[in-house]
């Protein structure tokens, strides 16, 4: 109990230190990325990126490998130069500032701990570079090792630590410099699943405790949703959407985002009429339905995609009578998969497109059997109308 109290007290010193050491204007974004392009020869790694990272938030950059997220992070850290555009750190253009003069620190994918130094000296590397007095270094590292729960390991060498412990040393080594933002490059990918999930919560706890902005790169959408306040979804060098996990899940901006985050039914439709907030579209099977118009503007005759999440799709044996309001599509049930809380039903519509419906396992609809002809039904309000993927 005494230990816990002691720890809280020292934790508070650290917090107040951070508050005094790092008084950034909360109205200025910590990082702003303005029209940033990055080319390697003829290869475009990042194309016209524009977004802001707010002070104190847990921000993630999410996308499949090769989407440019790591390059983006390396440009923020200063390891890569921008080809054009500018990156501001605390409002100041740092595009031409070398990494050792930028007030950001990185947790590397393989941690990059210095093998010839013990835990204490690894963590002390940054403060010593800045010429901070040795007794201050000692005090700060003592506190930081408590935050990451490694106070008993300060004399160990990196090769005497487990993967999770190395991870926490890397974290302490970066955070002890009180950076404006902490950059994390897929730091959990080297850990096994169980440890990874524990570290996700641990990272979130530390971030909340010390209030530093985290910029987290990952290809794992579940990880991004679990941890982030906001996420930038990237694909092929472009930032497709920036938003909270809920916004991205419920209101994806593009077909790519809809498909990359969770499962999505993407149904091709043609636009019949554009009526401002609502657009009339023609579904497979010929039904016309009015759905909310998304961020894109369509004219009559345009091809579009209707996105609906599987959990919003219901299955009925008969077509509902209020078919003017509900979206209805005739389907064949091709597979029923029991997944505990939900039944995952794979469906095929008359145009041959695949659909997925997640049905509450406790409310199995009458007549749901393999090969049954049924109606997939959903509320038009649950729909997101998106432009078709480029090239389609």
């Amino acid at each position: 109990m005494r230990l816990a109290g002691n720890r809280r007290r020292r934790g508070e010193t650290l917090l107040s230190n951070l508050a005094t050491m790092h008084k950034g204007d909360p109205r200025i974004p910590v990082i702003s990325v303005e029209n940033v392009h990055k080319r390697f020869g003829s290869f475009v790694a990042v194309e016209c990126a524009n977004f802001e990272i707010r002070r104190g938030e847990f921000f993630s950059m999410l996308g499949p490998s090769g989407c440019g997220k790591t390059t983006m992070l390396r440009m923020i850290a200063g390891f890569e130069e921008v080809s054009s555009g500018c990156i501001r750190l605390d409002g100041v253009d740092v595009s031409a500032v070398p990494p050792y003069r930028r007030n950001v620190n990185t947790v590397f994918q393989q941690y990059a701990l210095f093998p010839h130094l013990n835990v204490f000296d690894n963590v002390a590397f940054g403060p010593r570079s800045k010429g901070i007095a040795e007794d201050e270094v000692k005090r700060r590292i003592g506190e930081m090792l408590e935050v990451v729960r490694l106070q008993d390991y300060s004399l160990r060498r990196p090769d005497q630590l487990s993967g999770g412990q190395r991870q926490r040393v890397a974290l302490a080594r970066a955070l002890v410099n009180f950076p404006s933002a902490l950059l994390l490059d897929e730091p959990l990918s080297a850990l096994d699943l169980k440890l990874r999930q524990a570290m996700q919560l641990e990272l979130k706890r530390i971030q909340r405790e010390i209030g530093i902005t985290f910029v987290f790169v990952t290809h794992d959408q579940e990880e991004a949703l679990t941890m982030s306040d906001r996420t930038a979804v990237m694909s092929e060098g472009r930032v497709e959407q920036v938003g909270t996990p809920e916004e991205i899940y419920h209101s994806p901006a593009t077909v790519f985002v809809a498909g990359f985050i969770g499962t999505a039914n993407l149904i091709p439709v043609s636009v019949v009429r554009n009526a401002g907030a609502l657009s009339e579209v023609e579904l497979v099977g010929g039904q016309h339905s009015e759905v909310p118009t998304g961020p894109a503007i369509f004219s009559p005759g345009d091809r579009a995609v209707v996105m609906v999440r599987p959990e919003r799709v219901k299955l009925t044996a008969q077509r509902p009578d209020n078919s003017g309001r509900w979206c209805t599509v005739p389907v064949t049930v091709t597979e029923i998969i029991f997944q505990g809380p939900v039944l995952r039903c794979l469906l095929r519509d008359t145009a041959g497109d695949e659909l997925t419906a997640h049905i509450d396992g406790a409310e199995r609809p009458h007549g749901l059997t393999h090969g049954a002809q049924m109606w997939a039904v959903w509320d038009p309000a649950a729909v997101r109308l998106l432009p078709p993927r480029a090239g389609n």
Partner: protein, 266 residues
Amino acid sequence: MKRVNTMLGAWTAAMMVFLYLPIAILIGFSFNTSRLNIVWQGFTLDWYAAIWRDAVLVKSLENSLYIASVTTVISVVLGTAGAWLLYRYRFPGARLWQTLIFVPMLVPEVIMGVSLLIFFVVVHLELGFTSIIISHVTFCFPFVLVAVQARLAGLDPALEEAAMDLGATPAGAFRRVLVPYLMPSIIAGALMAFTLSLDELIVTYFTASAGTRTLPLEIFGRVKKGLDPTLNAISTVFILFTAVLVVATEFLKRRNASLVSRQQQS
């Protein structure tokens, strides 16, 4: 099976005798009372004491140690810098350079000696310590370079970035992270350079002046005039010294290798 083992054992023993018997005889007779290296008369340490009374011999030993030390320092700087350059930067002809660096390790020493002598004559460099040291560096620094390169191959490139990320300038990152990382290979390379320089006879023969005779040169010169047990004694000292250096080098190399493999496992 047993027969094969016995034969293998005998073969090994014969090889060891062939390799080490001359050295054993040399060491044995350095403790012989007789001036002649043929008959054993009794045990003495007089010849070891005689080394220190022979001013010319001591001077040549001093010369050798001085040349080997300076050669080692220059070789370490050149070898480490060269290895780093070839690792870090991609420049036209990098692979050609890589190959050219091995040439001094392979060229016969006589040819090295002659070509260096011609070179020094052409550039009007008077023979002496400078010419010997330059000659020794040409074949010693590639050994340092190769040792450092082997270690660099296992380097995580993120280490240098991590150092800069934590506020170290490129020079600071080199000094605080890379040099400590490379240190085992630098020491191994330095020991190798020191041993090679200390033992060198042929190249030195071509590039030394009368006043800068090294120990191998001095021994070589005296043996032609007749055998002297003092030479046995100083040779024994020399052999032991070299053997210690070689063992130390091997030990460091092995530790180096196990360090690298441990890092790769983790």
